[in-house]
Symmetry: C3
Subunit: 145 residues, 3 copies
Amino acid sequence: MKASPSMKYHWMEKTYHTSGQTDIIDLSADLQHFVRDAGLRQAQLTIMVPGSTAAITTIEYESGVLGDLQRAVERLIPRNIPYEHDQRWGDGNGYSHVRAAILGPSISIPLIDGRLILGTWQQVVCVDFDNRPRRRIVIFHMIGE
Amino acid sequence: MKASPSMKYHWMEKTYHTSGQTDIIDLSADLQHFVRDAGLRQAQLTIMVPGSTAAITTIEYESGVLGDLQRAVERLIPRNIPYEHDQRWGDGNGYSHVRAAILGPSISIPLIDGRLILGTWQQVVCVDFDNRPRRRIVIFHMIGE
Amino acid sequence: MKASPSMKYHWMEKTYHTSGQTDIIDLSADLQHFVRDAGLRQAQLTIMVPGSTAAITTIEYESGVLGDLQRAVERLIPRNIPYEHDQRWGDGNGYSHVRAAILGPSISIPLIDGRLILGTWQQVVCVDFDNRPRRRIVIFHMIGE
């Protein structure tokens, strides 16, 4: 444990163009960039996607397992069953909302001695569940010293 | 990035009366109140529900999609199959525990320039999975400057 | 709300030997130890498991409900269906990756007046979804004062 004379924060907003339909975007390069530029040593990071039809999680960014996640999500919360959201609003993306609520919009990761705590084959990803291509803003936020 | 002379924290405990059975409580008004009262500009917020039969997530607070989430949860982790928890303890809420463990008890959200990072139709909610009405305490917690 | 002259951080890395196959490890004792040793009063904690086949969540650590969670996970993301990850890499743990991505690798918990915000029967756990015994490192990280 160390006492620090001052707290610092750093944040970055980054736009991604997704194809929707459980498109999975690898945020690793931007995240590593963000951490390097900020130059903090000890911090907590939050990665968040505003909006109610996308989620943030981690996964090995390997096309086989990405497809496995996409198929699992389709099996668990299928596209082709009736959703009340669609009957009311005609958006056709009721399943997108349900999927996003179950996965969650953000994750937190510690930064220790300037090193982001992630496994070697573990990437931070944004999963876009919407039923159409979207322009997504992801927020990288850090507080520490 | 800015250096700050001091770190501040702020927290609020708020009680909600829920009907259980995947009752979904909109926390937005209290959350916005909390953020305004605290007056911080740069912070990380954690919203957490203590207890093992409720969860925190975000969703568009629209009755159609709330029903869609409730039906999805019922389909994925049904009430009317046997749970070992119930056979041991007779609580009848084994499904509530499993649902809560999958959704998770807390989420983190960045605050940037005094603005909470949420989508326009994205509300922070407490989902009460218990099998009976409950008095739930939700913790709003913020650290920053 | 209080202003603090300095921010402090504290972290601990702890190794657990798991049996894999949705083994659920109770982190409570180590977590309470960590909080006591750090001696902070107001903080945000992140508990994270690096790696893409394990997750962190909370549950009542009671063998009945642990089995219920294990059975639910097996029903939702079954072991014995084909996964593209396995066809490509022969790891045989495609289901482990999918399960971990859905539950998520970390959770955040507030610390208020030196007290960790958790329900009486709510334990923080690491769920190891891998298909074999693993040596898992869990990170406990705290920032506050």
